[in-house]
Symmetry: C3
Subunit: 375 residues, 3 copies
């Protein structure tokens, strides 16, 4: 049986599609969390994700299954990204996108452009660090706290949630109290002085990174945390979500909710926090594509202990429509196999399995982000 076959996915955390056509090596670098190609001229995509691209995506580009990566890239270039994106996104069965617009290391389409290019309604998630980094060159340290809050208020008009990448910049050792205004102003002063001389406003001070989160809380919208696996900036052991336990205790009743993204290899920790704290949610995005044939492992882990109304679907797709499609299918495959086993062992009825899968596919996120129904 295929419990998830008919389900439209609400992808609550993803990035835009790449503008334009990547070169072969640009594609390879977008299909790994490394910022380097494989050593010694080896194939970067000799990997679980590479297998998934050759199995799942190749036939949709009119190629045989298991075609080599170079032939896949030739055909992809021939078709062009726009056509590839239309084909793959359509098959993914994604019905709605919440797009984190904060990452622009490569040029990515905006939510509106996504909708127009691939026909999927898209809302915006605003990255807190990007707001601060954009604003900093224009204000002094003294005005930073209030100006930042005003900028968030402005963004809150259209954004459905926030994203924090403090796990990359510092780790998840979040304090249980917001930093005081003088502390924030002093940290902002140090940051701005350094940034001016460096010519780059990259925020990494833990006081400022935590201030951004506390500044976003009063808006009552979900705040997404990057957790665990990511590029070489992440020190995994510091990106363990249980380091934020005291912060979660302190923010019960604040009106804000927190969604723990990815979580690999801390999926069990994230699932536990989602049980223990009423305002904490989790997903296993990004590894649903990077694990290729093994994606089911992560899908199963999160359902070991998390309440079913606290688990969300995301792809964390970035730039490549391959990410969207492979994550969607990885999640469907993992859910179907797990729920089929549970049904076979009589843990639940088929109707209950459909209810749970539907809530994870879209219902839980729809409620959490208070999304209006589509017209």
């Amino acid at each position: 049986m295929s419990v998830t076959a008919q389900l439209s996915l609400l992808d609550h955390h993803c990035h835009g599609l790449l503008r334009g056509d990547p070169t072969d090596d640009e594609f390879r670098l977008l299909a790994t969390e490394s910022d380097q190609l494989a050593p010694d001229g080896l194939e970067t995509l000799d990997s679980p994700l590479g297998l998934a691209i050759r199995k799942i995506c190749a036939p949709l580009l009119d190629l045989p299954r298991h075609v080599s990566i170079p032939l896949y890239l030739d055909r992809r270039a021939e078709l062009g990204s726009a056509e590839v994106d239309r084909r793959l996104m359509h098959v993914s069965g994604t019905g709605r996108l919440l797009v984190d617009t904060g990452s622009q290391m490569v040029p990515l389409s905006s939510p509106a452009e996504m909708t127009s290019a691939v026909g999927i309604p898209a809302d915006e998630i605003v990255r807190l660090e990007t707001v601060a980094e954009t604003l900093a060159p224009l204000v002094g340290a003294e005005a930073f706290p209030e100006t930042l809050t005003a900028a968030l208020a402005d963004a809150a008009g259209s954004a459905v949630g926030w994203k924090s990448i403090i796990a990359y910049r510092y780790g998840l050792d979040l304090e249980a109290e917001p930093p005081g205004r003088p502390e924030v102003v002093a940290a902002a002063g140090r940051w701005m002085a350094e940034a001016e001389s460096a010519g780059r406003y990259r925020i990494s001070d833990p006081v400022l990174l935590q201030f951004l989160i506390w500044a976003a809380i009063p808006f009552g919208k979900p705040i997404q945390f990057h957790v665990g696996y990511g590029d070489s900036d992440v020190q995994l052991f510091r990106a363990d979500p249980s380091r934020a336990t005291r912060f979660f205790t302190a923010t019960i009743g604040s009106g804000a909710s927190f969604t723990l993204l990815h979580n690999y290899p801390f999926v069990r920790e994230a699932a536990i926090l989602s049980q223990v704290f009423p305002h904490v949610y989790c997903d296993v995005g990004v590894v649903t594509h990077y694990l290729g044939p093994s994606a089911s492992t992560a899908v199963r882990q999160v359902l070991e202990i998390a309440p079913f109304n606290k688990v969300l679907y995301s792809s964390d797709a970035h730039a490549l429509s391959e990410h969207y499609l492979i994550s969607a299918q990885g999640w469907r495959r993992g859910m179907d196999r797990l729920l089929d086993e549970w049904i076979a062992d009589d843990w639940l009825t088929a109707a209950e399995a459909e209810r749970i899968a539907g809530n994870i596919a879209s219902g839980n996120a729809h409620r959490l982000y208070r999304l209006p129904d589509r017209p």
Copy 2:
């Protein structure tokens, strides 16, 4: 084949059953490690444990499998806890209980009351922190070390072991040496002064928490450590049992043994420690019920590397007889499937599988706690 079907379980770590009948929401809060109900009026028991209650317990309350949680709670209230407890405990196949009497956040039955209510012999495990917190208002700091030791000596007359919840209060960063007397007295003085003004004797100073453990060691009885998953007080990364490695090295040959409880998500760490240290044992209690359909995952993990004579059975059941029954069945199911696979792959004979399962079910704990045979 069902290797474990005939085995009577020695549950070496559990709590008492609830006195009286819970309201529906009291039941829900006893069936999660959260201290909050699910947000937005959602069902708290829309969870793996909820599935297990509906599958395993409902039929024993004369209900159809998969009945909804509200209907389950109605019927439970109708029957009353006493009847429900008798029915579920009987089916669990538990033959002996070691009851941690230290947790009294809700009123729980004593070991003697357990025996009289459900007919299962029960011994006591004394919680070190509870002894200290009970005694502190009655003595000064200067007399604290000796008075505490005398209180333990008194308790040791009937208790078969000790329990430490230092993982909740501080973490498992245990020193390799006991704190000195002056250090303990000073810490006790600070604690008592604060407790008197706060009106609550909750021990959390790491010097005192470690003193309690070192004070218990000379009695030569097993000392249970809470490890990993628990309520919102636990910061998981600090409840990693490998943080106590130097302490375990220092206490080889002390005559004391240590049992690592629960261990999720540090099951592999606990199993490794149980191999490396002759006086360290482990179990996967509590998640045998909270993981519901996935309980086998934890049962398998602990048997990846732990010696078979160092693994114990516990439920960590607390207040609800559902915990007892679902944990017992989760452990049996996990063991049966694993051992059936091992037998099918000819890793061992059926007789050897029965020997191993029997030791984990009760033999190892019987020897470790030096329990007298029942009359």
Copy 3:
């Protein structure tokens, strides 16, 4: 199908075989990471590895499967280690050994002796700490840095790589910069003074341990790191390879490569680092034998996310030919089952599975260690 049946293994991390015949209890202590026998007269080999010895090795010693450990040890003593080693090593299908010669807690054969005893070509991996500890009594602190570098240059003539056990001695919190010469000389001075009075040159200062690694980097040979599970010296949480993230970032382009050994229970962390860093490789040696029936678990975990050209085979066998054989079979079994599933689910062709398995069995290590082809 058996993808790996015909593959000859290049074991890139192992130790020598025991010289002479062990007593029964010496054998037991070599078959656990504990340095103590089981308590209370229990059987130390009542363990997953014990099951594997009784299933896999007993028949090769002309015994029935599942024979008891005492009978196995009797027969082993009767045959003698030399004959047992020839039998078991032959069946393991190991074609080449890279032998870490740094551990001599028991007398082990040298690479040349291994070749002559069991007919397998063997190269040497030089342990950095052993070089330093051997050299220290002969030089003063002031000359230590240059003398150490000269000793490494000398060793580099024949060694194909280096081994660091900083995970045991300190942990994997590696700095992103080498320590300065004055800092090294000062630390060497403190070490030598203490060592002279203690009569034992055991290096444990983090400055010195890190200096050794940085001193080895310019030789451009792979540097092996012990990671995770080991004996009671290891504090697991400090042996998490993600603690070395900043070090890996700093050494991209240095010409050196790093191989993360064992990695249990941090297999996912190691696999992630192998994806993110072009000069980081990983394996799951040691647990391929200690996990016995469950070895496949570790083999599967590493292939969840690591690129297939970054995964190596090792046994970490030490002293006992049982380790070699059981690890080899554990790896083959795990790979065969995983790849058979992937082929059945059409993730890849049988030919591609053979290519991947062949690279992990030997191709990746052959290239990484720049081994000459055998004559």
